[in-house]
């Protein structure tokens, strides 16, 4: 008997969560969430044997995240975290307890982003902050990479 794959519990949680939130919030476009959920479900089943399964799941799941985010930002955060769980599970990145750390970090980062968007009333400000942070991280990383290569190439 093969052990249960970790992406399915996350999908079940996503399905229950999205359905519940859509019902509770009484969104006029609830059927869109359900349709996108079915799309994710279909991709999850169809791409079981494909090598690039993670990519297809991200492509299918992001519209659901956007749709949930339009309905409610915290619903979007929930769906983003569940989608990340599905993708991580499909890629085999949740095989041990240690693997939960990157997943938890992603959830934490997403929460911060959601919080940032929530507190800022305008898109450009949040975009500027997220873009700026990304640029700073990339700049620091570039310097570190340069130093690292310099050390090992004997230059």
């Amino acid at each position: 008997m093969t052990p249960p794959q970790p992406e399915y519990p996350f999908f079940i949680a996503l399905a229950i969560g999205v359905t519940g939130i859509s019902v509770l919030l009484g969104s006029p476009a609830w059927y869109l969430n359900i349709a996108l959920l079915l799309l994710v479900c279909g991709i999850l089943v169809i791409t079981r044997t494909l090598h690039e399964r993670g990519f297809y799941l991200v492509c299918a799941g992001e519209p659901l995240v956007v749709a949930c985010g339009i309905m409610n930002l915290w619903a979007g955060l929930f769906s983003a975290c569940m989608l990340a769980g599905i993708v991580y599970g499909a890629l085999g990145l949740l095989e041990s307890q240690k693997d939960l750390i990157p997943f938890a970090l992603f959830c934490g980062g997403s929460f911060i982003i959601a919080l940032l968007i929530q507190v800022s009333n305008h898109v450009p400000l949040a975009l500027l902050v997220i873009g700026g942070l990304t640029a700073v991280i990339l700049a620091i990383q570039s310097v570190r990479t340069y130093q690292f290569r310099k050390q090992y190439t004997g230059a």
């Binding site: 930002l73 979007g76 990145l93 992603f106 980062g109 968007i117 949040a126 990479t145 090992y152 004997g154």
Partner: protein
Amino acid sequence: MAILFAGGTLVAALLGQYLLFDKGLREIVASVDIERSLSRNPVRKGTPLQVTAIVTGRGSSRMQVQIADLIPPHTILVDGVTTVTINPDPSSQVRQLSYQIVPDIHGTQPFSGVSVTVGNLFFEDTVQLTRERDREPVLSVQPSGFFEPPVSELSEGNLDSRKLSVWRGTDIHSLREYSPGDDIRHVDWKISAKYGKLFVKRYTGEMSSPPLIILDLPWSSVPWPAKEFDRMISDVTGMVKHTLQTYQYVSVLLISGPNILHLIREEKNLSRCISELREWMHPAERQDHFYHMKDRSDLRSSVRECENGLQQTPDPGMQAFYEAMRDRYLTVLQYQRVPAFSGQVARTLSQVTITEAYLFSLGCGDTSHIRQLARLLQSQNIRVHIRIMDAAVAREARP
């Protein structure tokens, strides 16, 4: 807002994965070490060299690690593999690489370093380690000529020597169709244009023979100058070593007066050659002597000198002297046989291929055998260099 959130989470996920990958890459690269050993160093250009490399490194879960040993520039990999794969296991792992390279340019060539390729599901990166310790040892490639294959084959109807020739000669031996790997400079363009396909010239090999070292040992029954003898031994040993290094083999002929004692023929092993020399290099008993015997050419020139003197002198006493001397020389010339020593030397020389000879002698006592030997060698177009420890005798013995 929702699109920004979705995009932000995607960027965060990608950035996080990249940072994790970078952390793993650094740990793996820091653990890589390589220790190479060469089958020989220095090596001659064009000869294969066996390299054994011990690679140490650690893996990481879900990361594929490949470590490649980068061979020196201007060398060709002819056998073996230079890449190992490290298991995705965090413990330190040791792998051995074994391969053969052929250097094609002379000079000092350090290894190019080590290439570490690390990849995971999302990213892949290669780091080339070119620190000094990753490039050791420095390969010293000595120059050499074209290594020609045997220039003649019986299947082609030739009866030439099948010995490998180190140096390419200048004479064209034959033509054959071009095959990949042939030197493009050997293509005969005229013939190729005529027949519409490439033909390469095959050159005859050029022989480069080491000189024959002849050591004339003193007669043990008479006193000999010990200091000069030691110097001669030292010179001969040095020359033997030098010849072996240059030509890979050496031939030494040991004589004592007109007596052939021993021939060390085309010896390739230095220690064996030296031990043989140690056994023989001491004053020897001479069974045969020349007793300052002039050889036939000396006698003929003496006859000519007497005849010249006879014509030039008006003194009847001197004329009688020259006549008597001339008759004596002619009588000796008439009965003198070719000495056995000449035949023995000729037979000995037929066993070795030489174009040059070095004759070492103390020059004490009778030196007529040195003149005979030198003339015999010269008659076979062999250049002779005579090294006599006593300079005064050297002048006398010069042929």
